[in-house]
């Protein structure tokens, strides 16, 4: 299983702070598996993607396997 953590307002869009998806996932697989409400946000380059706490420079290169954690991070709004 892969955990997808939704931060900030993406949690509202996704309807939950985290989702669980079946492993493995590449970028196309993630787009296909996420709720439609999140796909537009997924394509917005202002939202960053991290796997196991490491930010992806190129999100299309995403590869996640069993036990991995994907995070979708909208722009920060400050402390």
């Amino acid at each position: 299983m892969i955990t997808v953590v939704l931060l900030g307002k993406l949690a509202d869009l996704g309807g939950a702070p985290a989702l669980t998806l079946a492993a493995p996932l590449d970028w196309a697989g993630l787009r296909a598996a996420l709720p439609a409400s999140l796909v537009e946000a997924l394509d917005d380059p202002r939202n960053r993607v991290a796997v196991n706490g490491a930010l992806l420079a190129d999100r299309s290169a995403l590869q996640a396997g069993d036990g991995d954690e994907i995070a979708l991070l909208p722009p920060v709004s400050g402390g």
Binding site: L7, G8, K9, A11, G53, L73, V76, S77, G78, G79
Partner: protein
């Protein structure tokens, strides 16, 4: 060298951190401290800060590394709240001890600008019973840009 970087999920009293921090840096020239509180804006009932464990605290440590590399510092305290807060509660406390005041003041300025616009926090406010996500402010980005020297930026 005193270095104290923390995320707190409970209310804190800045004075209880700053006193010991100052004592821990004997021989200093000056200490600059900034404490940010939840502003009592119009109709804000509560504020919630979300963080992402694998990025937020490591990001604060990286910011501290950059501050120590950039300024002549003796000590740095950087404490940030997460979770739900009410107006008047402290959100953030940054305190820098240095031999010279310019390093102490600039460090606080530098750390606050980065915490405000480049740290992994998401903020929402409760107004009239409903939660609203806060978008990044233009001013915060402008503040951050002040530190981006074209060459030799650490």
């Amino acid at each position: 060298m005193m270095r104290d970087i923390r995320l707190l999920n409970q209310k804190f009293i800045p004075g209880t951190l700053i006193g010991p921090f100052t004592q821990a840096n004997p021989g200093l020239g000056g200490v600059c401290t900034f404490v940010g509180e939840v502003r009592c804006d119009d109709d804000v009932e509560a504020l919630e800060l979300t963080h992402y464990e694998p990025l937020t605290l490591p990001g604060m440590h990286l910011l501290a590394d950059r501050a120590f590399a950039r300024f002549d510092l003796m000590g740095l305290l950087m404490v940030h709240r997460v979770g739900r807060m009410r107006p008047g509660e402290p959100i953030v406390c940054v305190s820098a001890a240095a031999r010279h005041r310019r390093d102490a003041i600039d460090t606080v300025d530098f750390c606050m600008d980065h915490l405000k616009s480049a740290a992994w926090f998401w903020k929402r406010e409760k107004r009239a019973g409903a939660w609203h996500w806060i978008e990044p402010r233009e001013q915060d980005h402008a503040d951050l840009a002040r530190w981006q020297a074209p060459v030799g930026d650490t």
